[in-house]
């Protein structure tokens, strides 16, 4: 039972991270298309922002793993 709930939690975390990172990636693409010369800077900033988004969902995954026991 707890295992299934943990799996649902992990799935929800994946949805959140997917939405967040998708938005970051999409906006970065747009930015790069508009200003190809700024691509390097955008890429770095994108990775950092993605890392922050990812961290939150990874917290959730770790909690789900612990809950799975």
């Amino acid at each position: 039972m707890t295992g299934s709930i943990a799996a649902i939690g992990a799935g929800l975390a994946a949805i959140g991270a997917g939405l967040g990172i998708g938005r970051i990636g999409g906006s970065a693409m747009e930015g790069m298309a508009r200003q190809p010369e700024a691509a390097n800077k955008i890429q770095t900033a994108m990775l950092i922002a993605a890392a922050f988004v990812e961290a939150v969902s990874l917290f959730a995954v770790v909690v789900a793993l612990l809950g799975n026991g």
């Binding site: 990775l47 950092i48 961290a55 990874l58 917290f59």
Partner: protein
């Protein structure tokens, strides 16, 4: 430009060995002990005999089957326990599995209340046998050394007083990666010494762009003109994490351990960043923490928040690296496990290409995580270096 490479590379290597030492300390695991004494000739002689055994002896094993290793699945177990197999593979261990029934038995070093005890983990026979040491009887329980009482029961109560300083799989793997780093960096450093500053050659031309990348993309934008002081640390964490990430992806012997996916390792790395941040904090940085620019009545709320904020940053660094690398390992292992879940070789035609695909992505992740850890460390240190002149604008 290239002089920077020469100057930092040796220090870089030294710092990484420091990390390993720190890890050894963190890796102590509470294990059990008990009161019964076992008769043995002289303790010193016994230990000497053990030390001879201790050097990782490669042993061909008899018919004994490891509890859940993938290759051994077909024998008797009716139900294939996926999570057990995966957890065993990503966890730290006292044996380093090579192939089939062959593994390296790494030394077990225990600090007990009665003295240090050293013996080969081969004595445990993959957790099947108990080992009668000089001071206690030991047995592996879920890859943790436990002390047995006379009747074969585990003495949990005394667990806290025996510390496990063993060279585990993770420690051994970290030593391997340090040897690699040493070889690479000392050879590059010496070729800079020999050839001076000029067009790089051989290994130099592989390393120099990466070091320049760390300097120009990570250190300078975040740390300002004081970047040189922190370059040794940033290069160390970058190459240490990267090397261990990549070694973790190698499925056979020199790799295969889950070093950066071990929370103790990432804890030490994050702790290093935390300590550097704290030590380099300027007056302005601390004034943001203890006298934030908010109305006075908000202070009871804001100061605790700011203090918690000091700790959440390294905490997030720790969790991010740990969870990313562990998730990658779990992903690859689950895909391999599909073959055993369906009990059919045909599944391999799907799952093996998928494993290759994920492994290629993980190569990218290995680099990105090293980069993210380093750039966030630089960012946090850069925040601590804040100067008062900027403060006037707010």
């Amino acid at each position: 430009m290239s002089r920077i490479t020469t100057r930092f590379s040796t220090r870089n290597v030294l710092l990484s060995s420091l990390f390993a030492l720190a890890f050894l300390v963190v890796n102590t695991r509470a294990i059990a002990q008990h009161e019964t004494k076992h008769e043995h000739s002289t303790g010193a002689e016994h230990i000497k005999a053990e030390v001879e055994h201790l050097d990782s002896t490669i042993v061909e094993e008899a018919e004994h089957i490891g509890e859940a290793a993938i290759g051994h699945h077909e024998t008797k177990e009716e139900k294939f326990n996926t999570s057990e197999v995966i957890m065993e593979h990503i966890a730290d261990g006292h044996d380093w599995h090579l192939w089939g029934h062959t593994s390296i038995h790494l030394p077990v070093i225990l600090y007990t209340d009665k003295g240090i005890e050293m013996f080969s983990s081969g004595k445990f026979n993959h957790g099947h046998d108990a080992y009668i040491g000089t001071h206690h009887t030991y047995k592996l329980e879920h890859d943790k050394v436990k002390v047995l009482i006379a009747d074969g029961q585990i003495d949990e109560a005394a667990s806290a007083s025996v510390l496990d300083f063993s060279i585990t799989k993770n420690v051994a793997s970290m030593m391997v990666s340090m040897v690699f780093l040493c070889l690479i960096f000392f050879s590059v450093a010496s070729s800079y010494k020999k050839r001076g500053i000029g067009a790089p050659k051989g290994l130099q031309s592989w390393l120099e762009p990466i070091i320049i990348f760390v300097r120009d993309e990570i250190a300078r934008p975040n740390l300002g003109e004081k970047y040189a002081k922190f370059m040794p640390y940033l290069l160390t964490v970058f190459f240490f994490i990267w090397m261990n990430n990549v070694l973790g992806l190698v499925p056979f012997f020199p790799g295969g351990a889950n070093v950066t996916g071990n929370i103790a390792v990432t804890l030490v790395l994050a702790l290093a960043t935390f300590i550097i941040t704290i030590l380099n904090g300027t007056k302005t940085y601390w004034s943001h923490v203890f006298t934030p620019h908010v109305p006075l009545w908000l202070y009871p709320l804001m100061i605790p928040v700011e203090i918690i904020g000091l700790f959440t940053k390294p905490f997030a660094l720790m969790i991010r690296l740990f969870a990313n690398i562990t998730a990658g390992h779990i992903l690859v292992l689950s895909l391999v496990c599909l073959i055993f879940i369906f009990k059919s070789m045909a599944v391999a035609t799907v799952s093996v290409p998928f494993v290759v695909f994920i492994s290629v992505i993980e190569m990218l992740v290995a680099f990105i995580q090293a980069f993210i850890f380093t750039i966030l460390s630089a960012l946090y240190i850069g925040m601590a270096l804040e100067k008062p002149s900027e403060d006037a604008h707010h």
